[in-house]
């Protein structure tokens, strides 16, 4: 029985976007914390922190996000821990985002001129204060644009969670399409919704970048 594409179908898809947003928000927040830890470990003087962090980044940058999702989802189930698609997607995307943000932010921290580190050492500032007040604020300015760029990738990447059965925007589209066989309408709408989520972020990134470059020039 083929249903026609009506208001119900429309709202089903639009409301599913909230799960895309929720998953992106969780993965980005978790990824920001993990990424900061990875970035700091990557530039640490201690080899015991540095090498595991490098390995972690290589692993997650060198494998497809889809495999990461599968491994987390089925991995838990192998150990008889029941894991919902939502939980698996949130964990896998958080791990994924940690690796990528860690690598982006490492580059941003290393782009802060060496003289800034030296001046803060010479003043006797300890690690936390040096990072918190001198290095990270400067790295953050450089990081804004690539970070928002990654967030856009991440939002689009959440569509892969549909494959393990998490009903977000893409999965909702598939469900509606299976019932209505109106793929052009359905996936046109899905794409438009992704665009509405991502495009303002791109604008924001450009805006922030300009604002910060003015701030540093003054």
């Amino acid at each position: 029985m083929i249903r026609s594409f009506g208001a119900n179908e429309f709202w089903f898809i639009v409301l599913a976007a909230q799960w895309t947003v929720a998953l992106s928000a969780v993965a980005f927040t978790g990824g920001a914390l993990g990424g900061l830890a990875i970035a700091l470990a990557r530039i640490s003087q201690t080899a015991l922190l540095r090498y595991p962090a490098i390995g972690y980044v290589r692993l997650f940058q060198g494998t497809p996000l889809l495999m990461q999702l599968f491994l987390v989802f089925f991995g838990f189930n192998i150990f008889n821990v029941s894991m919902s698609p939502w939980g698996a997607a949130a964990i896998a995307l958080t791990l994924h985002a940690s690796a990528f943000l860690g690598e982006i932010w490492r580059g941003c921290i290393q782009a802060v001129p060496g003289g800034q580190f030296e001046a803060s050492w010479a003043l006797g500032l300890k690690y936390y204060d040096r990072m918190r007040y001198v290095v990270l604020p400067q790295a953050a300015k450089i990081a804004v644009a690539p970070t928002v760029g990654f967030l856009v990738q991440l939002i689009k990447g959440t569509s892969l969670a549909s494959i393990i059965g998490f009903v977000e925007l893409t999965r909702a589209g598939q469900i509606v399409n299976n019932a209505t066989f109106a793929p052009f309408t359905v996936f046109g709408l899905v794409a438009a919704l992704y665009f509405i989520l991502c495009w303002p972020l791109s604008l924001l990134a450009r805006n922030l970048e300009q604002r910060f470059s003015v701030a540093t020039r003054r």
Binding site: A119, L123, P137
Partner: protein, 261 residues
């Protein structure tokens, strides 16, 4: 938070010890030896000018004094505390040793005032109001009190370097190190920075200054140290050093920079 441990150590230091003492210091960068058997003693209140050709190890030498560079051999004492004995001592000493860099290295995202307040508040645990008062006092001393609310990039090079000096002074250091503080400045701004340093010298600060400003050396230095190829070739009071250098290498160098004129 006041760091009780450091205060105890400082009280315990022997006032008879020189401000800085380097014994048989060797420093390698990989296979390249940047410092060779350096012996240097700087008494409290002394002003030492270090000069020498580019690449001779002047920066490396003074960067060892606050352990921005670690050394492979020899011992370094600051204020009677041995820096080469471990990282705890390094932390204690860095806050007692102010450093001024060729490139200023002000924190660009902070105002002049914030630059001057950060370390006293975070390292010494000074209260905000007191840190601000101290900062404004030193900014007045380097003659730019009106720039306190500006960002470094809004200042001229000479003003930025004076802020850098004020920032270091706000930590109330026992020793001040200067690494070519005027080399990155436009010529018309050199004098304002030198004047600030001369004031500081006249107030009795212990200073080690890498510079080729021979006028400055003549005026304030107790001793001039000439380095070449990682070695201290010659040390002397400015009068003797400039008028009657002992080594050919020194004479050649002075000829090149016009220091004998």
């Amino acid at each position: 938070m006041p760091d009780a441990a450091s205060q105890v150590t400082i009280q315990e230091t022997d006032p008879g010890m020189p401000a800085i003492r380097m014994e048989n210091v060797d420093k390698w960068f990989g296979h390249f030896q940047a410092l060779k058997n350096i012996d240097l003693e700087v008494d409290r209140g002394d002003k030492i000018v270090v000069c020498g050709p580019s690449g001779s190890g002047k920066s490396t030498l003074i960067r060892c004094i606050n352990q921005l560079e670690t050394v492979q051999r020899g011992r370094i004492f600051v204020d009677g505390i041995e820096l080469t004995a471990g990282p705890k001592n390094v932390e204690k000493i860095r806050r007692e040793v102010g450093m001024v860099f060729q490139q200023f290295n002000l924190f660009p995202h902070m105002t002049v005032l914030q630059n001057c307040m950060l370390a006293p508040m975070k390292v010494r645990g000074v209260k905000r109001a007191e840190a601000e008062e101290t900062a404004r006092r030193y900014l007045a001393r380097v003659k730019i009190p009106e720039q306190a609310e500006k960002y470094p990039a809004q200042l001229s090079g000479g003003q930025q370097q004076r802020v850098a000096i004020a920032r270091a002074l706000c930590m109330n250091p026992k020793v001040m190190l200067f690494d070519e503080p005027t080399s990155a400045l436009d010529p018309e701004m050199v004098q304002e920075v030198l004047d600030t340093m001369i004031d500081l010298a006249q107030e009795g600060m212990t200073m080690v200054v890498v510079t080729h400003e021979m006028g400055f050396a003549r005026k304030v230095a107790d001793r001039v140290v000439f380095m070449d190829k990682g070695e201290i070739v010659e040390t002397g009071d400015p009068e003797t050093f400039f008028s009657n250098p002992r080594h050919q290498r020194t004479r050649t160098f002075l000829g090149q920079i016009g220091g004998t004129q």
